[in-house]
Symmetry: C2
Subunit: 338 residues, 2 copies
């Protein structure tokens, strides 16, 4: 905060995110009574709210050398919104806390703010409050609030039953392969430039699956979680919360184009990138068998695929089953790589 005062920076960031703010005459916008600039933001929510927090820390979750600050701003909000997607909530408001080191200039701060504002605008999120403070290293802490007409419409981790179909939105492994490409640019020669770009974007600017999450909730999902820690850890969370055993078929995982080539070039297992690492921010969902077909149609209508990858059974834990019938426990995956 060497070149710009806290109050001035807040004012500029507020101005920037104000553009991303909702039309007050819309359903969600009408809920907002006081936006930023007072001691607290005031809203009048209807029905139920889902609230989640998430943070990005320099040196832990990103490095300024490889992650443009606009992407950092986008990803900070996107990863928080992904939790709302996993509840099937409609995104509403966000609150942003920013720790700014002295070596981060005004232009850098505004680039970060711009990325955040763009992400907010794309998902109709109103940024209602914030706090900017000096800090030894850069960090961004986000709080997001989503909405539903009633608490019963929101999908929890508990609720999967034996016989439920397990499915995943989109494709897996891209974020982990993208991170390999950012850390080791020389690996990129093994795939087409466009494929490498797509992998890096999965890492730098993940997409919260908000529309798919709402579609899955409406279609009758029994349990849902977003893949932030990796399929292994996240499947284990559903298994524990629901009191079931999840069996996932290795060959059915929808692996993103280029992940296999990058994994081979890096000397790692493509299935490890797809199931053992996190940050794809796809949704893992359990669906009662009679809901699976509808759910697939609804998700497809949002422009994403929905792939059946396994089933829930009586029992406990989560396992990955290979084509030879051998099982590999998923819970053993390292859930804290960083």
């Amino acid at each position: 905060m060497s070149r710009i005062g806290e109050f001035e920076l807040i004012a500029r960031l507020v101005e920037m995110v104000a553009e991303a703010r909702l039309d007050r005459t819309s359903e969600w916008g009408a809920r907002i009574v006081v936006a930023s600039g007072d001691d607290a933001a005031v809203t009048v929510p209807k029905g139920a709210t889902a609230t989640s927090v998430d943070s990005l820390v320099e040196g832990i979750h990103f490095r300024r050398q490889t992650a443009p600050l606009g992407s950092v701003g986008r990803k900070a909000l996107a990863s928080a919104l992904s939790d709302l997607a996993a509840m099937g909530a409609a995104p509403g408001e966000a609150y942003v806390q920013l720790g700014v080191p002295d070596d981060l200039g005004e232009a850098d701060c505004l680039e970060l703010g711009r990325g955040l504002a763009q992400e907010a605008a794309e998902h109709d999120v109103a940024v209602l409050g914030g706090d900017v403070t000096r800090a030894p290293t850069l960090w961004i802490a986000i709080t997001v609030v989503g909405h539903a007409d009633s608490a019963g419409e929101l999908v929890r981790r508990a609720g999967a039953g034996p016989g439920d179909d397990l499915a995943v939105t989109g494709e897996l492994g891209g974020a982990a392969a993208g991170l390999l490409l950012l850390d080791r640019p020389e690996l990129a020669t093994v795939v087409e430039a466009e494929v490498a770009d797509a992998l890096r974007r999965r890492q730098l600017e993940p997409q919260p699956r908000l529309a798919a999450g709402r579609a899955l909730a409406a279609a009758g999902a029994s349990a849902m979680i977003d893949l932030s820690d990796g399929l292994g850890g996240d499947a284990a969370h559903i298994a524990t919360a629901s009191g079931v055993r999840l069996v996932i078929e290795l060959e059915r995982l929808p692996i993103q184009a280029g992940v296999g080539e990058v994994a081979a070039a890096a000397g790692v297992d493509a299935f490890d990138l797809a199931a053992g690492r996190g940050e794809d921010y796809e949704l893992l969902v359990a669906l009662p068998p009679d809901r699976a077909e509808d759910a697939r149609a609804e998700v497809t209508a949002t422009g994403l695929t929905l792939t059946s990858i396994g089933v829930a059974e009586e029992g406990a834990g989560a396992a990955l089953r290979a084509s030879d019938g051998s099982e590999r426990p998923l819970a053993g995956f390292d859930q804290l790589r960083r």
Copy 2:
């Protein structure tokens, strides 16, 4: 996070703050549908919500050498709750994000969590969510949600009118004098040990004036703010938001016992500690003249004093008037000492 995994630490912190959680059969507790452990917390708020965020950063807002970690946990939540007090909101839920450096051991983390849980319990706050991440330096980012039956019951910064009485809860200058004592322990000899203790506590464990804030809102306050940046900057915020000029009488400031002695020993102006520094977390309130007497009685009933320190006039800005009639602009005070 060298000795304890993220998930295990979260589990222990959750267990700790669960004790601070509300009875679900109470009015506020019944609002909570899903507490921590899912992708998001779910609540069903009635009426209006007030949401505010605040953070503490090691090396900027506190030093581990002088601030016990239990106090850091308490202060992080207290300073966020103070914003709810300034709205006249009833405290409801809190969400905690924690950046933990490698040199912070498990016992340290739990001491911090214990302080936070104690503060939450004292104010009937349910800690519903959290995120723990590794970080190069310790930081705590808090989100608090308060409630009111309707948005109109909450008191904003805008609303003060010419002729309104300006009043402040409790006593001023204690937090700044306490910080001097923590940084320069040799100064403590100029006051009684109990007085020095009280000053240090004002700095380490400020009290959010939640009951007084609600009493002032009910008594008809026209504008309110908490004194986090200091009377100077905070009065200027009310003046700007309300479109009035605030004139504060220097001699009427209720200065805490010992502040004068510590200021003299440190070679600084006691009025500067009381009006130019922040962190007292008292409330500055504007009251229509016919509400002032009721308001004083209501605040007194919560165990705090309410002192009339000036008036709102036509005009702009905020000024401190000395007994000789000279005026000192308040807005010129440095609002970012740290």
